[in-house]
Subunit: 323 residues, 2 copies
């Protein structure tokens, strides 16, 4: 099923203990689209400025991503983020954020982007997420990401946006903040309970059925009404730049689901999607920005899925216990 | 194979967001022994003071633990720890530590404790760990735990102690601190490389073959020369008191290995041991101190192993990827 993603397209200047890069191609929609492009057709909706290069567009096009809804704002500057990561890459400091054309962004979706059966609402202002959501009323699978900023500034709108999607993908700390529940499982169950018992008149307020808690270097957990699943991150001896890992993860997850239109949204499907998400994210962090994913191959993904599978299995040999 | 554990026997006063308890039975050796007692015979070596009650001894005896090397120091006070946990239980503050009889503790092992084929060196001063290790030269499997304090104060002795065991069980942050390597996999590989290429004359310096990184609520990872394995923590909606979870984990791990004397120390055996460790730890945190594990049954452990197994499996259905 074709996938529409709405979110930021950016230039990132990043410093990690392993080096730095200036004005790399970045942004949530870009990382998501590159990852999801391994699974299905992806349509990107987002603004760029006059400073956005043909070279950057070509990176998306090379992976078959539809960029016709990438809106070039004349006289504008592309969203810019600058950050620096600490020693163990688990902490990062934002040094500069220039919204540029992202300020006052009003998503404009072509008929083509509105016809997608799968939608990913990357981390943008929740009212905008709702507005986009309303333009794809018949989408079969909708997921969203968000961040602490919107939990602080626009929690009510975010809760409404969550009520309009199937799948919420957040960092575990954000799930805790959003619900005020320190326990991850009960935080996730609370968000699942935000589903109305019956769909609203407009068919949008069906409520989330799937909660994905991203846990950074520790992996990710999946909580549905049926069950719980967790995967460690794929272990890497060298992690260079975590920027975009979460969006790449989402691209793997949503992309995998999009590539299985004939399957119900079962826990079995979701678990396989989590594995592909984990593997995509692991490639993303091996190099700066989009460098690694740009030259990634399907064969490499499949091979790493096999390794991840082998790393997470144990046999349930029975044992006579004492007492 | 019988297991000897050397470590603290304590009274713990603990406050968590869910309640508080004064002077509960605690200590690394106690939590370890209760968990390991489900798998094999456990012999505890450690000092207590005159204030240590028969009731506390009876908790260990009820699980068949051999307490004949629990040394009662006349005129002494039992090791006391007081701590308080934060909102999400991931941070804790030590409010009081009174070493009591633990100050100047010189482990005295009976012939029986020295005859064990499995040894766990709980978190005590590394020179003491080495001293105990030397008294079981023919032990088939030896594991140790430690803490940031000893990495700060006695790193050289700790490195020697690590060189004398098969298995190192540490928090992931401690592995990073110990090696100065921020990346978990390379930190673990560095510790594995501390193994001398051939056993030393006394047969002790064989070096670690197994590194277990405890990751708190995120689970644990296993790194050997052959491979990598990771398990999430068993998900609980209600966690009451994490005190002793790490030692309970170690008790499940070491106990499971002890219960399989005819198996080689393969990754397959270690993975099953990790699962049992994870499950034991999950019961420990459900209530204060040793309350839950005291009335735990083998049947409950086996049932939760099955659940954990189900929560960590995904199928590797092949997929045609684009590019």
């Amino acid at each position: 099923m074709p996938i529409t993603v709405v979110g930021s397209i950016a230039y990132d200047t990043v410093k990690t203990p392993f080096g730095e890069r200036e004005r790399m191609l970045g942004g949530a929609a870009v990382h998501f689209a590159l990852a999801a492009s391994f699974f299905d057709e992806v349509r990107v909706v987002g603004p760029v400025g006059e400073d956005f290069g043909e070279q950057q567009v070509a990176v998306l096009e090379a992976r078959g991503v539809d960029v016709s809804d990438v809106e070039r704002v004349s006289g504008g500057r592309t969203f810019f983020w600058q950050g620096e990561y600490g020693w163990d890459l688990n902490s990062r400091e934002t040094l500069d954020t220039q919204l540029g054309v992202f300020e006052g962004f009003q998503p404009k979706l072509s008929e083509r982007s509105r016809s997608s059966e799968v939608l990913f609402l990357a981390n943008i202002q929740p009212d905008l997420q709702l507005q986009v959501r309303a333009q794809l009323p018949r989408a079969r699978f909708v997921a969203l990401d968000s961040m602490n900023l919107w939990i602080d500034l626009a929690r009510e709108a975010l809760v409404r946006a969550i009520g309009s999607v199937d799948c919420v993908i957040l960092n575990d700390a954000e799930l805790r903040q959003l619900t005020g529940r320190p326990n991850l499982v009960s935080a996730a169950r609370e968000v699942l309970s935000w589903a109305p018992s019956s769909p609203s008149a407009d068919g949008l307020a069906r409520g989330p059925r799937v909660i994905v808690a991203k846990q950074g270097e520790y992996g990710a957990a999946l909580i549905t009404r049926e069950g719980f699943f967790a995967l460690p991150a794929y272990p890497l001896e060298s992690v260079i730049d975590p920027t975009g890992a979460g969006d790449t993860f989402a691209g793997g997850l949503v992309g995998y689901i999009a590539a299985h239109p004939d399957e119900e949204l079962s826990d079995d499907l979701l678990r396989r999607a989590m594995a592909h998400a984990t593997v995509l994210a692991s490639f993303n962090v091996e190099e700066f920005g989009t460098e690694r994913v740009q030259r990634l191959t399907g064969r490499e993904i499949v091979a790493r899925i096999g390794e991840l599978h082998a790393m997470t299995q144990f046999s349930g040999a029975p044992l006579e216990l004492l007492g």
